[in-house]
Subunit: 236 residues, 2 copies
DNA sequence: CCTGCAAATAACCAACGAGTTACTTTGCGG
DNA sequence: CCGCAAAGTAACTCGTTGGTTATTTGCAGG
Protein backbone atom coordinates (compact mmCIF):
# COMPACT_ATOMS: atom_id res chain seq x y z
CA UNK A 1 0.00 0.00 0.00
CA UNK A 2 3.06 2.22 -0.08
CA UNK A 3 2.58 3.55 3.42
CA UNK A 4 5.93 4.28 5.00
CA UNK A 5 6.91 2.44 8.15
CA UNK A 6 9.93 0.93 9.76
CA UNK A 7 11.95 4.07 9.11
CA UNK A 8 12.45 4.73 12.79
CA UNK A 9 14.74 1.77 13.16
CA UNK A 10 16.98 2.77 10.30
CA UNK A 11 17.18 6.36 11.40
CA UNK A 12 17.88 5.39 14.98
CA UNK A 13 20.63 3.00 14.20
CA UNK A 14 22.08 5.64 11.93
CA UNK A 15 22.22 8.04 14.84
CA UNK A 16 22.94 5.83 17.81
CA UNK A 17 24.27 2.60 16.47
CA UNK A 18 27.59 3.71 15.07
CA UNK A 19 29.69 1.65 17.44
CA UNK A 20 27.47 -1.38 17.00
CA UNK A 21 28.92 -2.21 13.60
CA UNK A 22 29.94 -5.82 14.17
CA UNK A 23 28.39 -6.28 17.61
CA UNK A 24 25.02 -7.80 18.34
CA UNK A 25 22.55 -6.76 20.99
CA UNK A 26 24.54 -3.96 22.50
CA UNK A 27 22.05 -1.43 23.79
CA UNK A 28 23.80 1.94 23.85
CA UNK A 29 21.36 4.09 25.81
CA UNK A 30 20.57 7.60 24.64
CA UNK A 31 19.01 10.17 26.97
CA UNK A 32 15.67 8.62 28.00
CA UNK A 33 12.83 10.61 29.43
CA UNK A 34 12.25 10.49 33.19
CA UNK A 35 10.08 7.62 34.27
CA UNK A 36 6.34 8.04 34.45
CA UNK A 37 4.44 4.83 33.91
CA UNK A 38 0.95 6.30 34.23
CA UNK A 39 1.64 9.08 31.78
CA UNK A 40 3.33 6.74 29.34
CA UNK A 41 0.39 4.40 29.46
CA UNK A 42 -1.97 7.31 28.87
CA UNK A 43 0.16 8.56 25.97
CA UNK A 44 0.04 5.17 24.33
CA UNK A 45 -3.72 4.94 24.75
CA UNK A 46 -4.27 8.37 23.26
CA UNK A 47 -1.93 7.66 20.37
CA UNK A 48 -3.65 4.35 19.78
CA UNK A 49 -7.04 6.03 19.69
CA UNK A 50 -5.85 8.41 17.02
CA UNK A 51 -4.29 5.65 14.98
CA UNK A 52 -7.27 3.29 15.19
CA UNK A 53 -9.70 6.09 14.36
CA UNK A 54 -7.70 7.14 11.35
CA UNK A 55 -6.97 3.72 9.91
CA UNK A 56 -9.27 1.15 11.51
CA UNK A 57 -8.04 -1.98 13.28
CA UNK A 58 -6.26 -3.59 10.35
CA UNK A 59 -4.96 -0.34 8.92
CA UNK A 60 -3.43 0.76 12.22
CA UNK A 61 0.31 0.19 12.66
CA UNK A 62 1.75 -0.65 16.03
CA UNK A 63 5.04 1.04 15.16
CA UNK A 64 3.17 4.20 14.27
CA UNK A 65 1.29 4.14 17.58
CA UNK A 66 4.55 3.83 19.49
CA UNK A 67 6.06 6.67 17.51
CA UNK A 68 3.02 8.94 18.05
CA UNK A 69 3.20 8.24 21.77
CA UNK A 70 6.95 8.86 21.76
CA UNK A 71 7.19 5.56 23.59
CA UNK A 72 9.00 2.36 22.86
CA UNK A 73 7.03 -0.37 21.15
CA UNK A 74 8.00 -2.86 23.83
CA UNK A 75 6.24 -0.75 26.46
CA UNK A 76 3.07 -0.88 24.46
CA UNK A 77 3.23 -4.68 24.59
CA UNK A 78 4.24 -4.48 28.24
CA UNK A 79 1.17 -2.48 29.22
CA UNK A 80 -1.47 -3.78 26.83
CA UNK A 81 -0.40 -7.24 25.68
CA UNK A 82 -1.05 -7.04 21.95
CA UNK A 83 -2.66 -5.00 19.22
CA UNK A 84 -6.15 -6.38 19.72
CA UNK A 85 -6.05 -5.87 23.47
CA UNK A 86 -4.89 -2.32 22.90
CA UNK A 87 -7.80 -1.79 20.54
CA UNK A 88 -10.17 -3.11 23.20
CA UNK A 89 -8.66 -0.75 25.75
CA UNK A 90 -9.21 2.14 23.36
CA UNK A 91 -12.85 1.13 22.87
CA UNK A 92 -13.54 0.89 26.57
CA UNK A 93 -11.86 4.20 27.27
CA UNK A 94 -13.82 5.81 24.44
CA UNK A 95 -17.18 4.63 25.78
CA UNK A 96 -16.20 5.82 29.25
CA UNK A 97 -15.35 9.28 28.00
CA UNK A 98 -18.50 9.58 25.92
CA UNK A 99 -20.79 8.49 28.74
CA UNK A 100 -19.05 10.95 31.03
CA UNK A 101 -20.14 13.77 28.75
CA UNK A 102 -23.71 12.54 28.57
CA UNK A 103 -24.06 12.60 32.34
CA UNK A 104 -23.66 16.37 32.41
CA UNK A 105 -27.06 16.75 30.78
CA UNK A 106 -29.92 17.51 33.16
CA UNK A 107 -33.13 18.22 31.40
CA UNK A 108 -35.46 17.66 34.34
CA UNK A 109 -36.39 21.31 34.88
CA UNK A 110 -37.05 22.22 31.25
CA UNK A 111 -40.50 21.91 29.64
CA UNK A 112 -40.63 18.74 27.49
CA UNK A 113 -40.42 20.44 24.11
CA UNK A 114 -37.40 22.44 25.17
CA UNK A 115 -35.82 19.41 26.80
CA UNK A 116 -36.24 17.44 23.58
CA UNK A 117 -34.76 20.24 21.52
CA UNK A 118 -31.80 20.40 23.86
CA UNK A 119 -31.33 16.64 23.63
CA UNK A 120 -31.23 16.69 19.84
CA UNK A 121 -28.85 19.64 19.83
CA UNK A 122 -26.68 18.00 22.44
CA UNK A 123 -26.43 14.83 20.35
CA UNK A 124 -25.45 16.82 17.28
CA UNK A 125 -22.86 18.89 19.16
CA UNK A 126 -21.53 15.79 20.83
CA UNK A 127 -20.83 14.12 17.51
CA UNK A 128 -19.32 17.26 16.11
CA UNK A 129 -17.00 17.60 19.07
CA UNK A 130 -15.98 13.94 19.06
CA UNK A 131 -15.54 12.98 15.42
CA UNK A 132 -13.09 10.26 16.44
CA UNK A 133 -15.90 8.44 18.26
CA UNK A 134 -17.87 8.13 15.03
CA UNK A 135 -14.87 6.68 13.26
CA UNK A 136 -14.27 4.22 16.04
CA UNK A 137 -17.90 3.10 15.96
CA UNK A 138 -17.74 2.65 12.19
CA UNK A 139 -14.65 0.52 12.52
CA UNK A 140 -16.20 -1.56 15.25
CA UNK A 141 -19.36 -2.11 13.26
CA UNK A 142 -17.41 -3.31 10.25
CA UNK A 143 -16.00 -5.85 12.70
CA UNK A 144 -19.60 -6.68 13.69
CA UNK A 145 -19.04 -5.38 17.24
CA UNK A 146 -16.76 -8.35 17.86
CA UNK A 147 -14.75 -6.46 20.45
CA UNK A 148 -17.38 -4.39 22.32
CA UNK A 149 -19.27 -7.61 22.78
CA UNK A 150 -16.27 -9.20 24.45
CA UNK A 151 -15.66 -6.31 26.85
CA UNK A 152 -17.84 -7.09 29.82
CA UNK A 153 -18.07 -3.49 31.05
CA UNK A 154 -19.53 -2.01 27.90
CA UNK A 155 -22.91 -3.77 27.81
CA UNK A 156 -23.34 -2.66 31.42
CA UNK A 157 -22.76 0.96 30.44
CA UNK A 158 -26.21 1.59 28.97
CA UNK A 159 -26.45 5.09 27.74
CA UNK A 160 -28.18 7.25 30.33
CA UNK A 161 -29.77 9.07 27.41
CA UNK A 162 -32.45 6.44 26.83
CA UNK A 163 -33.61 6.82 30.41
CA UNK A 164 -33.66 10.59 30.06
CA UNK A 165 -35.53 10.30 26.82
CA UNK A 166 -38.15 8.07 28.34
CA UNK A 167 -38.99 10.55 31.09
CA UNK A 168 -39.03 13.58 28.80
CA UNK A 169 -41.33 11.65 26.48
CA UNK A 170 -43.66 10.72 29.33
CA UNK A 171 -43.82 14.31 30.59
CA UNK A 172 -44.57 15.59 27.10
CA UNK A 173 -47.32 13.05 26.53
CA UNK A 174 -48.81 13.94 29.93
CA UNK A 175 -49.04 17.60 28.94
CA UNK A 176 -50.45 16.80 25.51
CA UNK A 177 -47.37 18.15 23.70
CA UNK A 178 -46.17 14.83 22.28
CA UNK A 179 -47.90 12.03 20.45
CA UNK A 180 -48.43 8.62 22.04
CA UNK A 181 -47.01 5.28 21.04
CA UNK A 182 -43.41 6.36 20.59
CA UNK A 183 -40.80 3.67 21.18
CA UNK A 184 -37.99 5.39 23.14
CA UNK A 185 -35.24 3.15 21.76
CA UNK A 186 -36.24 3.84 18.17
CA UNK A 187 -36.66 7.52 18.92
CA UNK A 188 -33.11 7.51 20.29
CA UNK A 189 -31.85 5.71 17.19
CA UNK A 190 -33.55 8.37 15.09
CA UNK A 191 -32.09 11.26 17.06
CA UNK A 192 -28.65 9.74 16.88
CA UNK A 193 -28.98 8.65 13.26
CA UNK A 194 -30.06 12.07 12.05
CA UNK A 195 -26.73 13.47 13.22
CA UNK A 196 -24.51 10.42 12.99
CA UNK A 197 -25.12 9.72 9.30
CA UNK A 198 -24.42 13.35 8.48
CA UNK A 199 -21.02 13.18 10.16
CA UNK A 200 -20.05 9.60 9.39
CA UNK A 201 -20.77 10.01 5.69
CA UNK A 202 -19.88 13.67 5.19
CA UNK A 203 -17.11 12.76 2.81
CA UNK A 204 -19.05 10.63 0.35
CA UNK A 205 -22.17 12.79 0.65
CA UNK A 206 -20.17 15.93 -0.11
CA UNK A 207 -18.83 14.33 -3.27
CA UNK A 208 -22.18 12.94 -4.41
CA UNK A 209 -24.15 16.14 -3.80
CA UNK A 210 -21.28 18.44 -4.61
CA UNK A 211 -21.84 20.42 -1.41
CA UNK A 212 -19.28 21.20 1.28
CA UNK A 213 -21.15 19.67 4.20
CA UNK A 214 -18.25 20.48 6.51
CA UNK A 215 -18.91 24.21 6.13
CA UNK A 216 -20.28 26.27 9.01
CA UNK A 217 -23.50 27.04 7.12
CA UNK A 218 -24.27 23.43 6.31
CA UNK A 219 -23.46 22.44 9.87
CA UNK A 220 -25.95 24.85 11.42
CA UNK A 221 -28.47 24.07 8.70
CA UNK A 222 -28.21 20.41 9.60
CA UNK A 223 -28.50 21.08 13.32
CA UNK A 224 -31.68 23.10 12.86
CA UNK A 225 -33.10 20.52 10.47
CA UNK A 226 -32.50 17.64 12.90
CA UNK A 227 -34.38 19.50 15.65
CA UNK A 228 -37.27 20.29 13.31
CA UNK A 229 -37.58 16.69 12.17
CA UNK A 230 -37.76 15.32 15.69
CA UNK A 231 -40.06 18.01 17.10
CA UNK A 232 -42.23 17.92 13.97
CA UNK A 233 -42.62 14.19 14.36
CA UNK A 234 -43.42 14.32 18.07
CA UNK A 235 -45.97 17.14 18.12
CA UNK A 236 -49.61 16.04 18.08
CA UNK B 1 -3.93 -10.95 13.51
CA UNK B 2 -4.05 -14.69 13.08
CA UNK B 3 -6.13 -14.66 9.93
CA UNK B 4 -5.20 -17.61 7.71
CA UNK B 5 -3.82 -16.94 4.26
CA UNK B 6 -1.40 -18.35 1.80
CA UNK B 7 -2.88 -21.80 2.10
CA UNK B 8 -3.87 -21.92 -1.54
CA UNK B 9 -0.29 -22.18 -2.68
CA UNK B 10 0.53 -24.99 -0.33
CA UNK B 11 -2.59 -26.94 -1.16
CA UNK B 12 -2.11 -26.45 -4.87
CA UNK B 13 1.48 -27.52 -4.91
CA UNK B 14 0.42 -30.47 -2.80
CA UNK B 15 -2.08 -31.49 -5.43
CA UNK B 16 -0.46 -30.46 -8.65
CA UNK B 17 3.19 -29.93 -7.96
CA UNK B 18 4.32 -33.45 -7.25
CA UNK B 19 6.78 -33.66 -10.12
CA UNK B 20 8.21 -30.24 -9.36
CA UNK B 21 10.23 -31.46 -6.39
CA UNK B 22 13.71 -30.24 -7.30
CA UNK B 23 12.81 -28.23 -10.38
CA UNK B 24 12.38 -24.48 -10.50
CA UNK B 25 9.88 -22.52 -12.51
CA UNK B 26 8.37 -25.47 -14.24
CA UNK B 27 4.73 -24.65 -14.73
CA UNK B 28 2.98 -27.99 -14.91
CA UNK B 29 -0.49 -27.00 -16.05
CA UNK B 30 -3.42 -28.63 -14.35
CA UNK B 31 -6.85 -28.70 -15.98
CA UNK B 32 -7.56 -25.01 -16.34
CA UNK B 33 -11.04 -23.78 -16.81
CA UNK B 34 -12.00 -22.87 -20.35
CA UNK B 35 -11.09 -19.35 -21.23
CA UNK B 36 -13.57 -16.65 -20.43
CA UNK B 37 -11.97 -13.31 -19.76
CA UNK B 38 -15.21 -11.40 -19.16
CA UNK B 39 -16.52 -13.91 -16.67
CA UNK B 40 -13.19 -14.17 -14.88
CA UNK B 41 -13.02 -10.41 -14.57
CA UNK B 42 -16.56 -10.35 -13.20
CA UNK B 43 -15.76 -13.14 -10.74
CA UNK B 44 -12.79 -11.24 -9.44
CA UNK B 45 -14.81 -8.06 -9.05
CA UNK B 46 -17.57 -9.83 -7.14
CA UNK B 47 -15.08 -11.63 -4.91
CA UNK B 48 -13.29 -8.34 -4.28
CA UNK B 49 -16.53 -6.67 -3.30
CA UNK B 50 -17.22 -9.35 -0.72
CA UNK B 51 -13.72 -9.18 0.65
CA UNK B 52 -13.56 -5.38 0.86
CA UNK B 53 -17.01 -5.20 2.45
CA UNK B 54 -16.11 -7.77 5.05
CA UNK B 55 -12.68 -6.47 5.97
CA UNK B 56 -12.25 -2.94 4.66
CA UNK B 57 -9.42 -1.84 2.39
CA UNK B 58 -6.52 -2.64 4.70
CA UNK B 59 -8.10 -5.78 6.11
CA UNK B 60 -8.78 -7.26 2.68
CA UNK B 61 -6.30 -9.85 1.39
CA UNK B 62 -5.48 -10.11 -2.28
CA UNK B 63 -4.82 -13.84 -2.00
CA UNK B 64 -8.20 -14.34 -0.42
CA UNK B 65 -9.90 -12.41 -3.24
CA UNK B 66 -8.20 -14.60 -5.83
CA UNK B 67 -9.21 -17.71 -3.95
CA UNK B 68 -12.83 -16.57 -3.61
CA UNK B 69 -12.93 -15.87 -7.33
CA UNK B 70 -11.30 -19.22 -8.08
CA UNK B 71 -8.92 -17.24 -10.25
CA UNK B 72 -5.18 -16.88 -10.30
CA UNK B 73 -3.78 -13.90 -8.43
CA UNK B 74 -1.79 -12.84 -11.46
CA UNK B 75 -5.01 -12.36 -13.43
CA UNK B 76 -6.26 -10.02 -10.79
CA UNK B 77 -3.18 -7.88 -11.30
CA UNK B 78 -3.51 -8.34 -15.04
CA UNK B 79 -7.05 -6.96 -15.14
CA UNK B 80 -6.99 -4.40 -12.36
CA UNK B 81 -3.39 -3.34 -11.81
CA UNK B 82 -3.16 -3.39 -8.02
CA UNK B 83 -5.16 -3.65 -4.83
CA UNK B 84 -6.13 0.01 -4.70
CA UNK B 85 -7.25 0.07 -8.32
CA UNK B 86 -9.32 -3.04 -7.67
CA UNK B 87 -10.90 -1.31 -4.70
CA UNK B 88 -11.73 1.67 -6.91
CA UNK B 89 -13.29 -0.65 -9.50
CA UNK B 90 -15.42 -2.21 -6.76
CA UNK B 91 -16.58 1.21 -5.62
CA UNK B 92 -17.54 2.33 -9.10
CA UNK B 93 -19.37 -0.91 -9.79
CA UNK B 94 -21.18 -0.65 -6.47
CA UNK B 95 -22.43 2.86 -7.18
CA UNK B 96 -23.56 1.76 -10.64
CA UNK B 97 -25.55 -1.13 -9.25
CA UNK B 98 -27.15 0.95 -6.51
CA UNK B 99 -28.18 3.73 -8.90
CA UNK B 100 -29.62 1.12 -11.23
CA UNK B 101 -32.01 0.02 -8.49
CA UNK B 102 -33.03 3.57 -7.69
CA UNK B 103 -34.06 4.21 -11.28
CA UNK B 104 -36.84 1.66 -11.02
CA UNK B 105 -38.75 3.98 -8.69
CA UNK B 106 -41.51 6.00 -10.34
CA UNK B 107 -43.57 7.93 -7.88
CA UNK B 108 -45.09 10.43 -10.32
CA UNK B 109 -48.63 9.05 -10.24
CA UNK B 110 -48.97 8.66 -6.48
CA UNK B 111 -50.33 11.40 -4.24
CA UNK B 112 -47.41 13.17 -2.47
CA UNK B 113 -47.95 11.66 0.97
CA UNK B 114 -48.05 8.15 -0.49
CA UNK B 115 -45.08 8.88 -2.72
CA UNK B 116 -43.08 10.06 0.27
CA UNK B 117 -44.03 7.00 2.28
CA UNK B 118 -42.95 4.80 -0.60
CA UNK B 119 -39.65 6.65 -0.89
CA UNK B 120 -38.84 6.15 2.78
CA UNK B 121 -39.81 2.51 2.62
CA UNK B 122 -37.81 2.03 -0.54
CA UNK B 123 -34.74 3.50 1.10
CA UNK B 124 -35.11 1.23 4.09
CA UNK B 125 -35.66 -1.87 1.95
CA UNK B 126 -32.81 -0.91 -0.28
CA UNK B 127 -30.36 -0.80 2.61
CA UNK B 128 -31.71 -4.03 3.99
CA UNK B 129 -31.28 -5.76 0.67
CA UNK B 130 -27.78 -4.39 0.07
CA UNK B 131 -26.01 -4.56 3.41
CA UNK B 132 -22.67 -4.76 1.62
CA UNK B 133 -23.19 -1.26 0.26
CA UNK B 134 -23.40 0.14 3.78
CA UNK B 135 -20.18 -1.58 4.72
CA UNK B 136 -18.46 -0.27 1.64
CA UNK B 137 -19.61 3.28 2.38
CA UNK B 138 -18.39 3.00 5.96
CA UNK B 139 -15.00 1.86 4.77
CA UNK B 140 -14.78 4.62 2.22
CA UNK B 141 -15.75 7.25 4.76
CA UNK B 142 -13.07 6.11 7.16
CA UNK B 143 -10.74 6.76 4.23
CA UNK B 144 -12.32 10.22 3.94
CA UNK B 145 -13.76 9.38 0.50
CA UNK B 146 -10.23 9.40 -0.86
CA UNK B 147 -11.13 6.97 -3.63
CA UNK B 148 -14.64 8.04 -4.68
CA UNK B 149 -13.26 11.52 -5.05
CA UNK B 150 -10.62 10.27 -7.47
CA UNK B 151 -13.07 8.32 -9.63
CA UNK B 152 -14.31 10.86 -12.16
CA UNK B 153 -17.56 9.01 -12.93
CA UNK B 154 -18.92 8.93 -9.41
CA UNK B 155 -19.43 12.66 -8.78
CA UNK B 156 -21.34 12.70 -12.07
CA UNK B 157 -23.68 9.95 -10.86
CA UNK B 158 -25.87 12.13 -8.65
CA UNK B 159 -28.55 10.08 -7.08
CA UNK B 160 -31.80 10.44 -9.01
CA UNK B 161 -33.53 10.29 -5.65
CA UNK B 162 -32.84 13.92 -4.80
CA UNK B 163 -34.56 15.02 -7.99
CA UNK B 164 -37.53 12.77 -7.27
CA UNK B 165 -37.67 14.10 -3.75
CA UNK B 166 -37.71 17.67 -4.92
CA UNK B 167 -40.73 17.13 -7.16
CA UNK B 168 -42.68 15.11 -4.61
CA UNK B 169 -41.97 17.84 -2.08
CA UNK B 170 -43.14 20.55 -4.46
CA UNK B 171 -46.35 18.67 -5.28
CA UNK B 172 -47.08 18.14 -1.60
CA UNK B 173 -46.51 21.78 -0.74
CA UNK B 174 -48.76 22.80 -3.64
CA UNK B 175 -51.59 20.71 -2.23
CA UNK B 176 -51.04 21.94 1.30
CA UNK B 177 -50.01 18.49 2.55
CA UNK B 178 -46.39 19.37 3.34
CA UNK B 179 -44.77 22.23 5.20
CA UNK B 180 -42.70 24.87 3.41
CA UNK B 181 -39.01 25.63 3.70
CA UNK B 182 -37.73 22.07 3.51
CA UNK B 183 -34.23 21.66 2.12
CA UNK B 184 -34.41 18.63 -0.19
CA UNK B 185 -30.76 17.64 0.33
CA UNK B 186 -31.13 17.63 4.10
CA UNK B 187 -34.45 15.84 3.84
CA UNK B 188 -32.70 13.18 1.79
CA UNK B 189 -29.91 12.93 4.34
CA UNK B 190 -32.56 12.47 7.02
CA UNK B 191 -34.43 9.80 5.09
CA UNK B 192 -31.22 7.95 4.39
CA UNK B 193 -29.78 8.48 7.87
CA UNK B 194 -32.87 7.16 9.64
CA UNK B 195 -32.33 3.80 7.94
CA UNK B 196 -28.57 3.84 7.39
CA UNK B 197 -27.61 4.34 11.03
CA UNK B 198 -29.92 1.54 12.07
CA UNK B 199 -28.20 -0.88 9.70
CA UNK B 200 -24.64 0.41 9.87
CA UNK B 201 -24.60 0.34 13.67
CA UNK B 202 -26.90 -2.59 14.37
CA UNK B 203 -24.10 -4.50 16.01
CA UNK B 204 -23.00 -1.94 18.57
CA UNK B 205 -26.57 -0.71 19.16
CA UNK B 206 -27.76 -4.26 19.82
CA UNK B 207 -25.06 -4.70 22.44
CA UNK B 208 -25.63 -1.34 24.11
CA UNK B 209 -29.43 -1.62 24.26
CA UNK B 210 -29.45 -5.36 24.71
CA UNK B 211 -32.00 -5.77 21.91
CA UNK B 212 -31.71 -7.98 18.83
CA UNK B 213 -32.18 -5.27 16.23
CA UNK B 214 -31.65 -7.82 13.45
CA UNK B 215 -34.90 -9.56 14.36
CA UNK B 216 -37.92 -9.42 12.05
CA UNK B 217 -39.98 -7.53 14.64
CA UNK B 218 -37.39 -4.84 15.22
CA UNK B 219 -36.89 -4.50 11.49
CA UNK B 220 -40.54 -3.82 10.73
CA UNK B 221 -40.81 -1.64 13.82
CA UNK B 222 -37.93 0.44 12.51
CA UNK B 223 -39.40 0.67 9.04
CA UNK B 224 -42.73 1.93 10.34
CA UNK B 225 -40.99 4.34 12.70
CA UNK B 226 -38.89 5.85 9.91
CA UNK B 227 -41.99 6.51 7.83
CA UNK B 228 -43.78 8.09 10.78
CA UNK B 229 -40.86 10.36 11.58
CA UNK B 230 -40.60 11.71 8.04
CA UNK B 231 -44.35 12.08 7.44
CA UNK B 232 -44.85 13.51 10.92
CA UNK B 233 -42.19 16.09 10.23
CA UNK B 234 -43.55 17.05 6.80
CA UNK B 235 -47.23 17.38 7.60
CA UNK B 236 -48.39 20.95 8.29
C1' DC C 1 -1.73 -25.89 -40.01
C1' DC C 2 0.86 -22.59 -37.89
C1' DT C 3 1.68 -18.50 -35.45
C1' DG C 4 1.31 -14.90 -32.28
C1' DC C 5 -1.19 -12.84 -28.67
C1' DA C 6 -4.11 -13.00 -24.66
C1' DA C 7 -5.58 -15.98 -20.94
C1' DA C 8 -4.07 -18.61 -17.43
C1' DT C 9 -0.78 -20.73 -14.00
C1' DA C 10 2.81 -21.80 -10.17
C1' DA C 11 6.61 -20.38 -8.02
C1' DC C 12 9.09 -16.77 -6.35
C1' DC C 13 10.54 -12.40 -3.73
C1' DA C 14 11.26 -8.27 -1.00
C1' DA C 15 9.19 -5.52 2.25
C1' DC C 16 6.50 -5.10 6.01
C1' DG C 17 4.77 -5.53 10.49
C1' DA C 18 3.29 -7.88 14.83
C1' DG C 19 5.44 -9.66 18.33
C1' DT C 20 10.29 -11.06 21.06
C1' DT C 21 14.76 -11.17 22.93
C1' DA C 22 18.10 -9.48 25.47
C1' DC C 23 19.63 -6.23 27.41
C1' DT C 24 20.37 -1.15 30.44
C1' DT C 25 18.78 2.22 33.68
C1' DT C 26 16.07 4.18 37.21
C1' DG C 27 14.29 4.95 41.59
C1' DC C 28 12.50 3.19 45.85
C1' DG C 29 12.25 0.32 50.26
C1' DG C 30 15.10 -1.71 53.56
C1' DC D 1 23.97 2.59 49.82
C1' DC D 2 22.47 -1.64 47.98
C1' DG D 3 19.61 -4.66 45.44
C1' DC D 4 15.93 -5.52 42.70
C1' DA D 5 11.64 -4.93 40.33
C1' DA D 6 9.78 -2.15 37.07
C1' DA D 7 10.57 1.28 33.29
C1' DG D 8 12.76 1.80 29.35
C1' DT D 9 15.44 0.74 24.90
C1' DA D 10 17.46 -1.25 20.32
C1' DA D 11 17.77 -4.84 17.57
C1' DC D 12 16.04 -9.06 15.91
C1' DT D 13 12.63 -12.72 13.91
C1' DC D 14 9.60 -14.82 10.98
C1' DG D 15 5.04 -15.40 9.00
C1' DT D 16 2.32 -12.60 5.91
C1' DT D 17 1.27 -10.15 1.91
C1' DG D 18 1.42 -7.12 -2.07
C1' DG D 19 3.36 -7.60 -6.22
C1' DT D 20 6.58 -10.28 -10.13
C1' DT D 21 8.81 -13.56 -13.03
C1' DA D 22 8.94 -17.12 -16.03
C1' DT D 23 6.11 -20.18 -18.39
C1' DT D 24 2.42 -22.83 -20.72
C1' DT D 25 -1.86 -23.16 -23.20
C1' DG D 26 -6.01 -22.02 -25.90
C1' DC D 27 -7.75 -19.92 -29.83
C1' DA D 28 -8.60 -16.45 -33.75
C1' DG D 29 -7.00 -15.17 -38.11
C1' DG D 30 -3.73 -15.69 -41.89
Amino acid sequence: MGRPAGEARLVNSEIHGRATAGLKRQAKRPAQRTRNPELTKRDILVAAREEFCEHGLDGARVDRIAKRAAANKRLLYHYFGNKEALYSAVLLDAYREIRQGELKLHLGDLPPVEAMRKLVEFTFDHFRRHPWFIRLLSTENILRAEYVRRIAEIPRMHSPIVGLLRSVLAAGQERGDFRDGVDPVHLYISIAGLSYFFFSNTHTLSVIFNVALQSKEQMSLRRRHAVEVILGYLRV
